[in-house]
């Protein structure tokens, strides 16, 4: 008889703890989401909008490490000059080398009158060429991979 009452208590205790556990998980997840939302707000407030990245896959004769990542803004220029969004100080990079921009959900690449040329998948980009994530973008002798 006593044992039965004890079992009832155990059963209710178990159910209560089970729901407490579920509540704990949900609360922890909510906290996590808030933190993530706050940190993404911070990024939006501090820096310009980053829509994609260029990752160095082949650095050619330069001393940039392969795997280095550059942020891409909706309008990005690459070159040796200090006014560029991405500045690469190498001899074979022209002062204004390549332009990238994002329009209608697609990246476009065009050479900005460089000496050594800009390429999308080894195709010279004298005119604007659309590029999709995963494409290899050549700036002079440096090869980048476009990612989102």
């Amino acid at each position: 008889m006593q044992l039965d009452a004890f079992f009832l208590v155990l059963r209710i205790l178990f159910i209560v703890i089970l729901y407490l556990f579920l509540m704990q998980v949900v609360r922890a997840i909510t906290r996590d989401l808030r933190k993530a939302a706050a940190s993404s707000d911070d990024i939006g407030a501090k820096g310009p909008l980053v829509l994609g990245h260029l990752i160095v896959v082949d650095s050619g004769p330069s001393n940039i490490l392969p795997g280095t990542r550059f942020d891409l803004e909706p309008q990005t220029t690459i070159g040796r000059g200090p006014t560029n969004t991405i500045q690469i100080t190498e001899n074979f990079i022209s002062s204004e080398h390549t332009r990238l921009w994002f329009r209608n959900g697609k990246w476009h690449v065009q050479d900005a009158g460089s000496v050594n040329g800009s390429y999308v998948n080894n195709q010279p980009a004298r005119e604007a060429i659309p590029a999709k994530p995963g494409d290899i973008i050549g700036v002079g002798y440096i090869q980048f991979k476009l990612t989102v």
Binding site: F7, F14, K35
Partner: protein, 461 residues
């Protein structure tokens, strides 16, 4: 931003550790109750003679291994997801408890310990998966190997089905010496890997569509091949192997991944229409096991008629499902109490029908909480998929989570007579080695993807 260089103290996975406290209490509580139910209730229990430590050893071992895994995550994968391990740990702990409890009822007293060993192997496999997948694209590169492996597993199931008698309930077994192994548990992972790699490569092609009939755009012929193969596998599974559950599982995952990959609802509708049409024709042509399974859903348990009685008493008919429903109903709102129900009447209660035993002993409230745990696991899975940085990881995480979701859905609905009952295990709760290991591989891949995402976002730090 997340603090760049947190101190060693703050870097610890505190959330995970905190989430372990209540599951540990729960598991110990239930194990104690299970031991107490075995006491002779007529005499006064002498608690001093009671072998409390020996009885609790299995569950203490499980807790120790879970905490060890937690420490390993802290050392090697500090930034991976912190919610999955406690949730999955609780689920597999409940699985061990259910196996221990149901073992004597089906005259296999060692079942609990066997399940415990499977969970331990599963946790090791989970860690091994995380170490092995240093580069997740490794899986994408070997997608045709995965597909080939899947086809071999599929063929073993097919060969088994053709060889064995038509009455046996499941053909989804492969005997390797003393172990009976379910190829489908690995088959489903292979299929998800292949589809994630395939879709992430051909996504543009599939999304744009090659040729057109009226308003409907279909993918180009070259891309259509693997998709047609899926329809074929689904139909073969349904009609020849008579594994309705596996067919539903694989085809359902295929549909969700197609939708996730291309964002075209039309493909889903068309594929669904094709399988329903072909399945219906096959169903009409083959009056067999599959038809009988579907008939069971029509049994009216409340208003018992002669038609119900016919299906109930037929061999391979509604006996199992109806007994399961009676078990669930006898549990009521609060349940009979762990170890105090009578789950032995339901056939195959330890694996396929484990949900009914759980519902009988923990009641409707316990059942809701269980579904809540599954939902939270799924939520974390899709969250990992959303946060992942590249298409392949996204599709892989979402696909693995989908297959987990669909499997849980199909077998729970089957137990409650909402779908035809099929022989697939309930993830982590059902007794069975290959199911536990397969699901731990899924969790391992998800954890690895979340770790990769965190590394890309914050650096190694």
């Amino acid at each position: 931003m997340i603090p760049r260089s947190p101190t060693g103290f703050r870097r610890y996975r505190w959330t995970e550790l905190a989430l372990f406290i209540l599951p540990i209490i729960m598991l110990l509580l239930e194990m104690t109750q299970l031991l107490l139910t075995k006491l002779d209730t007529t005499s006064t229990p002498d608690l001093r003679k009671f072998p409390i430590v020996e009885g609790l050893t299995p569950i203490l071992g499980l807790i120790a291994v879970l905490l060890l895994t937690h420490v390993m995550f802290n050392i090697f994968f500090r930034k991976s997801d912190q919610f999955l391990l406690p949730l999955v740990g609780l689920l597999s702990g409940l699985g061990v408890l259910m196996a221990t409890r149901l073992g004597p009822a089906i005259s296999d007293p060692a079942q609990g310990n066997k399940q415990l060993i499977w969970v331990l192997i599963g946790l090791i496999v989970c860690l091994g998966t995380m170490f092995a997948l240093r580069d997740i694209y490794y899986l994408a590169r070997y997608k045709y190997t995965a597909a080939l492996f899947g086809v071999i597993l599929f063929c073993t199931t097919l060969a088994n089905a053709l060889r064995s008698k038509p009455d046996t309930p499941t053909h989804d077994q492969l005997s390797l010496g003393p172990f009976a192994f379910q190829p489908s548990e690995l088959l489903k992972i292979c299929i998800v890997i292949f589809f994630a790699a395939y879709l992430s490569e051909n996504r543009d092609m599939l999304a744009e569509g090659g040729w057109q009939i009226g308003r409907l755009r279909l993918p180009p012929f070259r891309q259509l091949g693997p998709l047609a193969l899926m329809v074929f596998i689904g139909l073969i599974l349904f009609l020849v192997v008579r594994e309705l559950g596996l067919a539903l599982l694989i085809y359902g995952t295929f549909l969700s991944m197609i939708y996730l990959g291309t964002n075209k609802f039309m493909y889903v509708l068309v594929s669904l229409a094709i399988i329903v049409l072909l399945g219906f024709i096959g169903f009409k042509l083959l009056p067999s096991y599959a038809r009988q399974r579907i008939e069971v859903v029509s049994v009216d348990v409340v208003n018992w008629t002669q038609a119900s009685e016919d299906i109930y008493s037929k061999s391979g008919g509604g006996f199992q499902v109806v007994q399961g429903l009676i078990a669930v109903a006898s549990g009521g709102l609060l349940g009979a109490g762990f170890g105090l129900g009578h789950p032995g009447y339901v056939p195959v209660v330890q694996s396929d029908m484990v949900l009914t035993a759980f519902a009988e002993e923990f009641g409707l409230i316990g059942l809701f909480a269980l579904i809540g745990i599954y939902l939270l696991v799924l939520y974390r899975g899709f969250r990992i998929a959303i946060e992942a940085s590249d298409v392949f990881s996204k599709l892989l995480a979402a696909g693995l989570t989908s297959i987990f979701a669909i499997q849980t859905l199909i077998i729970s609905a089957g137990n409650l007579k909402l779908l035809p009952l099929t022989g697939i295990p309930l993830p982590f709760l059902s007794y069975g080695g290959s199911s536990v290991i397969g699901n731990f591989i899924i969790i391992g891949i998800l954890m690895r993807i979340s770790y990769n995402t965190a590394l890309e976002r914050d650096g190694i730090g």
